[in-house]
């Protein structure tokens, strides 16, 4: 723990308690109007919702190293990463509530959050955030700046072509990209041992001649250390790294998932190995008292509550806005007129 300051630990702790409380509050808000019989299309908070409680250490431990000009792409379970990357909490929440002042003016929703101020984006198709992250790395390399890109994916995504092709592309071009596999043991209903014969996703790296690292516990400090090396390596233009971190899925694949396929003891275990409590112990060991931790937590809760209240107060989009934003330029392109030339076609 020598390489991490107490200030950094506190910053990670802040991100993690913010993310955990955020998901708990969203879960409450989401269930409004959907009970007693769960109806995905009822209630004020629409659509599918994939909550990331249990993943917090991976967001905080990696993004602690990142600047606003570093790019992050996240998958369908994005909130903890967005929070750690510094995405505007109010506008993100308004987006999740489908409001006009949301990050995407209500067009994207929780799987499609874009915050260009901090170079954050997420996508709902498995592994498909990897190629754009490689592209951000390519742009950084071409422009000779020292920004990096991080692509997050789940362990269920490691069998997808977009991921494997991106590893190769990033490796052969020495791109400043870090791929972070969040291993929560479950791809919806599929335990990883039924879909891949390698024990760990980090082993995929060896086929592409890049470093592959696995962090076996959802320990924010250990993730921070592994990510520090990988991001440093990328920033120094030494190429990509693949990191896999163990996290836990505490709230089902999506809200409404009955998880009947999942053994109870596995569900139970996911709630017991808590990265937030682990980090709190680390902080206490450094002499940070409980009152300070409580203050961080209560301020985080206030921010989340405020964001949610703000979001719920925001106007619904005008239906007519559905027709906007398909293009940024007019359909005709950068011009609406054509010059007049006399095109001589040779001897007529």
């Amino acid at each position: 723990m020598a390489n991490i300051s107490t200030r950094q630990l506190k910053s990670m702790y802040d991100d993690m308690v913010t993310a955990r409380y955020y998901e708990e509050r969203l879960q409450e808000e989401y269930m409004e109007g959907k009970q007693p019989a769960f109806d995905i299309s009822a209630g004020p908070l629409p659509g599918e919702l994939h909550l990331a409680a249990g993943h917090e250490a991976s967001g905080a431990g990696v993004c602690e190293h990142l600047r606003d000009d570093d790019t992050v792409t996240a998958p369908h379970r994005p909130h903890h990463i967005a929070i750690a990357k510094g995405v505007d909490l109010k506008r993100m929440t308004a987006e999740i509530f489908g409001r006009e002042t949301g990050l995407s003016r209500g067009k994207g929703g929780h799987m499609h959050l874009f915050d260009t101020d901090v170079n954050f984006a997420c996508s709902g198709i498995i592994a498909e955030g990897c190629p754009p992250a490689a592209g951000a790395g390519l742009a950084a390399k071409k422009r000779n700046d020292d920004s990096v890109a991080v692509a997050y994916l789940g362990e269920g995504a490691i069998d997808q072509g977009a991921f494997l092709e991106s590893l190769n592309f990033a490796a052969v071009r020495d791109l400043p990209v870090v791929f972070v596999i969040e291993d929560n043991d479950w791809a919806i209903s599929m335990p990883k041992d039924r879909v891949t014969d390698v024990e760990n996703g980090s082993q995929r790296a060896s086929g592409f001649d890049m470093p592959g690292v696995r962090v076996n516990h959802d320990d924010a400090v250990a993730i921070h250390e592994a990510a520090g090396k990988a991001i440093g390596r990328a920033r120094d233009r030494n190429g990509p790294t693949l990191i896999e971190v163990q996290v836990h899925r505490r709230m089902g694949h999506f809200m409404g998932d009955p998880e009947t396929y999942r053994p109870e003891e596995d569900q139970e275990a996911a709630t017991q190995r808590d990265s937030i409590e682990r980090l709190a112990e680390d902080l206490r060991a450094r002499g940070v008292d409980s009152a300070t931790l409580d203050d961080i937590e209560s301020e985080a809760h206030d921010r989340v509550d405020e964001a949610i209240e703000w979001a719920k107060d925001q106007p619904q989009p005008d239906p007519a806005q559905a027709h906007e934003d398909v293009f940024v330029n007019p359909p005709s392109g950068v011009t609406d007129s054509e010059p007049q030339y006399e095109l001589k076609r040779g001897d007529d």
Binding site: G106, D159, A187, P317
Partner: protein, 341 residues
């Protein structure tokens, strides 16, 4: 089709998902070479209940959960089908098609033709389609026109449990690739309540519905409304409302896009003179344009008025007011019928 209306009385009602599963199970019992592959289709039973209960009877060898590798398992279905097996492979959401487009379009759809008929691909590609629950642009499309546009695939879209079973039997037995697009909102899933219409009486025995046989779901003399999938039910709702205003609307359920039953549509338009085509896919270069063009080519003189009701050319937005704006509802269909006057 009129002969189907004379079928013996059937009382047992099923949801659409139960009808789908019943057909698949019956085919799997009859033919050892039929098997199902997809994400979360075994232990979970399909996110949209498309395989609910199959694992218990047939086990993991024949109801196969697969890695999230659509190119690999859809392509493997093509390969197994070319060996003579009868795979059914599921795209959890049709929107994921892009991940495996080469296997779908350049292999599954073309190998028969490119081999001069020497090779055939007797597989079914099932896919959940449709919006209405705010799942945004990557999980709400129907893509009916996209699949129907490319030659080499039969494309079917059931609107009720009765259709779902008969079309699935035909799809599995067909020696060609069939894309079987089921609308999530019609399946009768506990957490996504279906409208009234799709749960219908379903015969216990197996039966096949031919592709290319549109069904007149409601007879009428003033206006022909042609549609498919969820919008069959929205059109029927609109027709019931319009009846009070003195409009006698005929509703035609296409049931398949490839082949397309233009004959039933043209016969209807010859009678009504007015055509409204309703589609949950994008407006341009799609189903609505194709139907209107087909009628115009064959029967332009009978066509007095035309309206198209479809998703405007924008991706499906997330927020409810905007999704409601772009996905046609029964009021939009009523307005289109009234606009013909």
């Amino acid at each position: 089709m009129s002969q189907e209306r004379q079928r013996p009385a059937v009382e047992r009602e099923l949801t659409m998902s139960r009808a789908v599963v019943e057909a698949i199970a019956e085919e799997m019992r009859d033919n050892e070479e039929v098997f199902y592959m997809g994400e979360d289709v075994a232990d979970y039973g399909g996110i949209f209940d498309s395989t609910e209960g199959l694992l218990d009877e047939f086990g993991h060898d024949r109801v196969m959960d697969v890695p999230i590798s659509e190119t690999a398992y859809l392509g493997a279905a093509v390969g197994a089908a070319q060996e003579g097996m009868r795979p059914i492979a599921e795209l959890m959401f049709v929107d994921f098609f892009g991940v495996a487009m080469d296997q779908i379009y350049n292999q599954m759809a073309k190998n028969t033709y490119m081999s001069g008929g020497a090779v055939n691909v007797p597989m079914v590609l099932t896919a959940a389609v449709g919006g209405t629950y705010n799942d945004a642009a990557q999980h709400s499309q129907t893509l009916y026109g996209t699949f129907a546009h490319m030659p080499g695939m039969k494309v079917v879209v059931p609107s009720t449990a009765y259709e779902a079973k008969g079309l699935m039997h035909n799809a599995i037995r067909d020696d060609d690739p069939v894309v079987y697009m089921f609308h999530k909102r019609l399946m009768g899933i506990g957490w996504m309540p279906a409208p009234q219409g799709p749960k219908t009486p379903v015969p216990e025995e197996d039966y096949t519905i031919p592709f290319g046989s549109a069904d007149i779901k409601r007879e009428g003399s003033d206006v022909t409304v042609v549609t498919l999938g969820l919008h069959v039910h929205r059109a029927l709702d609109a027709a019931a409302e319009l009846e009070d205003d003195g409009h006698d609307v005929e509703v035609i359920d296409l049931r398949s896009l490839v082949p397309l039953d233009t004959e039933t549509i043209i016969e209807s338009v010859e009678k009504t003179g007015s055509l409204v085509v309703v589609d949950e896919d994008y407006r341009s270069y799609g189903v609505t344009g194709e139907i209107v063009a087909s009628v115009a080519e064959e029967s332009l003189a009978d066509l007095d008025a035309v309206e198209r009701v479809a998703v405007p050319d924008v991706p499906i937005p997330y927020s409810r007011p905007m999704e409601n704006e772009v996905i046609p509802d029964s009021k939009d269909i009523e307005d289109a019928v009234k606009a013909l006057e």
